[in-house]
């Protein structure tokens, strides 16, 4: 009887635990989805990092890591939702780096994504520069921060002089990678060249320690390669039109007259195509977030403008 009773209670408990765990998951999810979407906002009610520093009671390192994760999470979520406003990115990064001034990854990563244009970043290159400069102040021996600084000057602000200077300063630091000097020189001489950009992104891709930074660099490289291809295709389309008097129906039309040997593919292996405006483009623009069409120099547009 007693064993039976105990056994029965034991079974009841086990059933309750299993059902309970399932229920916990169900209600936890339901409550989370019903709650106002405000975790990041709430988190930032205290906006002065110094205050937080004091509130952390000496656990600021841990809290900094937490904020850093929140920054990644916030960026990832906004990015996934194709949102454009990253207004909280700078404050979260400020808090994280203020709590733990040695958290260099936060400067590097944060600066790159702060600087990039929306939707791939916050489009705030100035705050990116400020962030990275604070990082350099706190971590003067870290040449990678100079590298990031130069990068942002060169690639986002197009301020090649400052970029060359940043690279040069970084190159002074013991242990700096030798290509810092190369970067400095090429910035000074060929700042705006696509080859320079390509070289810089390649370096970034090869030296990035974080997946997110590497993927970002890869997207840049991919976009840059596609951009070169597209620019050549645009010229061919313009030439075809000048020759025949009408735009090509598809890229296949360019093969027969000998403009192309075969149908070209983009870096992801998809064929290029012609869009509704008669311009060459990629199949999946989402794969090439950094593709830019320079409206001024585009021959097709120039032709369209000329009646």
């Amino acid at each position: 009887m007693s064993r039976v009773h105990r056994g029965r209670v034991g079974i009841a408990c086990r059933v309750a635990i299993v059902l309970g765990l399932a229920g916990v998951i169900v209600f936890s999810r339901a409550a989370a989805s019903a709650a106002p979407h405000s975790d990041a906002e709430n988190v930032l009610i205290v906006s002065s990092p110094r205050v937080i520093h004091r509130l952390c009671l000496g656990y600021s390192g841990l809290i900094a890591d937490l904020y850093w994760t929140r920054a990644v999470q916030y960026f990832g979520r906004t990015h996934a939702e194709r949102g454009t406003g990253y207004r909280l990115l700078a404050p979260i990064l400020t808090i994280a780096t203020e709590l733990d001034p040695k958290l260099t990854i936060a400067y590097e990563y944060g600066a790159v994504f702060l600087a990039q244009k929306p939707p791939e970043g916050a489009g705030e290159p100035e705050s990116a520069v400020a962030l990275i400069r604070r990082g350099i102040e706190q971590n003067p021996g870290n040449w990678r921060l100079y590298y990031t600084l130069g990068f942002i000057y060169g690639m986002e602000l197009k301020d090649y002089g400052s970029a060359a200077e940043a690279f040069a300063q970084g190159a002074q630091i013991p242990g700096a990678h030798p290509w810092m000097r190369v970067l400095s020189a090429s910035m000074a001489e060929h700042g705006g060249d696509p080859e320079t950009a390509h070289y810089m992104w390649t370096q970034m891709y090869q030296s990035a320690t974080e997946d997110m930074l590497r993927n970002n660099a890869e997207q840049h490289l991919r976009s840059a390669e596609a951009q070169v291809d597209l620019s050549r295709l645009q010229h061919m389309i313009a030439a075809y039109r000048a020759e025949t008097g009408h735009p090509p129906a598809s890229l296949a039309a360019l093969v027969r007259p000998g403009y192309l040997y075969r149908l070209p593919k983009d870096p992801t292996g998809q064929y290029y195509r012609i869009d509704a405006h008669g311009r060459a483009t990629v199949q999946h623009p989402g794969d090439f977030p950094f593709l830019e069409i320079d409206e001024k120099t585009d021959p097709v547009l120039a032709m369209a403008r000329k009646p």
């Binding site: 209670v9 034991g10 209600f27 339901a30 709430n42 994760t69």
Partner: protein
């Protein structure tokens, strides 16, 4: 059966009260009075917010400490000091003991929270000389605090069913802290891959989600939790408690008393 659970609950409540648990109310009252007088005088337009933030935070912190230490104290102490011997020598089943203890502790905490809640309202009335409809939303936040406390109690019971009082306190406190960062735990899980992701996910769900039961700062700004959210949170707390108590019973049912 239910009667015995109620007797045990009543005894637990009585013992907690006599153990001067409610003395924390004195500190709380002093805090509220001090804040009310101070902010009532220097009125910088945020006296309501300060009173609410301070009052509800104190409610939650006092409550959590009481839930942890009294919860563990009363249960592990019964095992440690062997008061349980005589209790279980009477026709009391072990699960009835767990259930009764839980009910008694939850009752103690609810009463404690009620009194504190009244203190908060009194202080609000003092600084504003009236209560607005927005103040009703405070009730929701207070209710969620009680839910938190009840969950802590269940967790404390679970730990004290197998650990020594000190270790049970440590575990419960750790879970309380981790639970307050549960959303970040979910975020970590979201960033991870493969097995790590599953482990982090499991941990995130296993830990009580105190963060989503915390409406203190939104209540301070007059934003209440809607009825749907309150219902879901209640369901969550109920299910979590039942699970923890079932675990406690499963362990306790086969435990050799020292």
């Amino acid at each position: 059966m239910i009667r015995r659970v109620l007797y045990i609950a009543h005894n637990t409540f009585r013992e907690a009260v006599r153990d001067r648990v409610l003395y924390n109310l004195v500190i709380f009252a002093l805090l509220m009075i001090g804040a009310a007088i101070l902010f009532g005088q220097i009125s910088v337009g945020i006296e309501r917010i300060v009173i609410i933030n301070l009052g509800l935070s104190a409610m939650s912190i006092f409550g959590a400490l009481i839930a942890m230490f009294i919860g563990i104290g009363l249960v592990s102490k019964e095992i440690e000091k062997r008061t349980l011997y005589t209790l279980l020598a009477h026709p009391v089943r072990r699960w009835e003991f767990i259930a009764g203890k839980f009910a008694g502790l939850a009752g103690t905490l609810a009463v404690n929270a009620c009194l504190m809640g009244m203190g908060v309202y009194a202080a609000l009335w003092y600084v504003a000389h009236r209560l607005t409809s927005g103040d009703v939303s405070l009730l929701g936040a207070m209710y969620c605090i009680v839910l938190q406390l009840v969950i802590i109690t269940a967790v404390a019971l679970l730990f004290s069913s197998f650990a020594s009082p000190v270790m049970a306190a440590v575990y419960t406190f750790a879970l309380f802290v981790i639970g307050s960062f549960d959303q970040d735990l979910h975020a970590f899980a979201g960033l991870a891959h493969g097995a790590t992701r599953w482990l982090a996910m499991a941990a995130a769900y296993a830990v009580p989600n105190f963060a989503s039961l915390n409406f203190i700062s939104s209540a301070a700004h007059g934003i209440g939790a809607g009825p749907k959210l309150l219902a879901l949170n209640s369901a969550y707390a109920a299910v979590y408690c039942v699970t923890a108590l079932a675990g406690a019973t499963a362990v306790f049912e086969r435990r050799n008393l020292k």
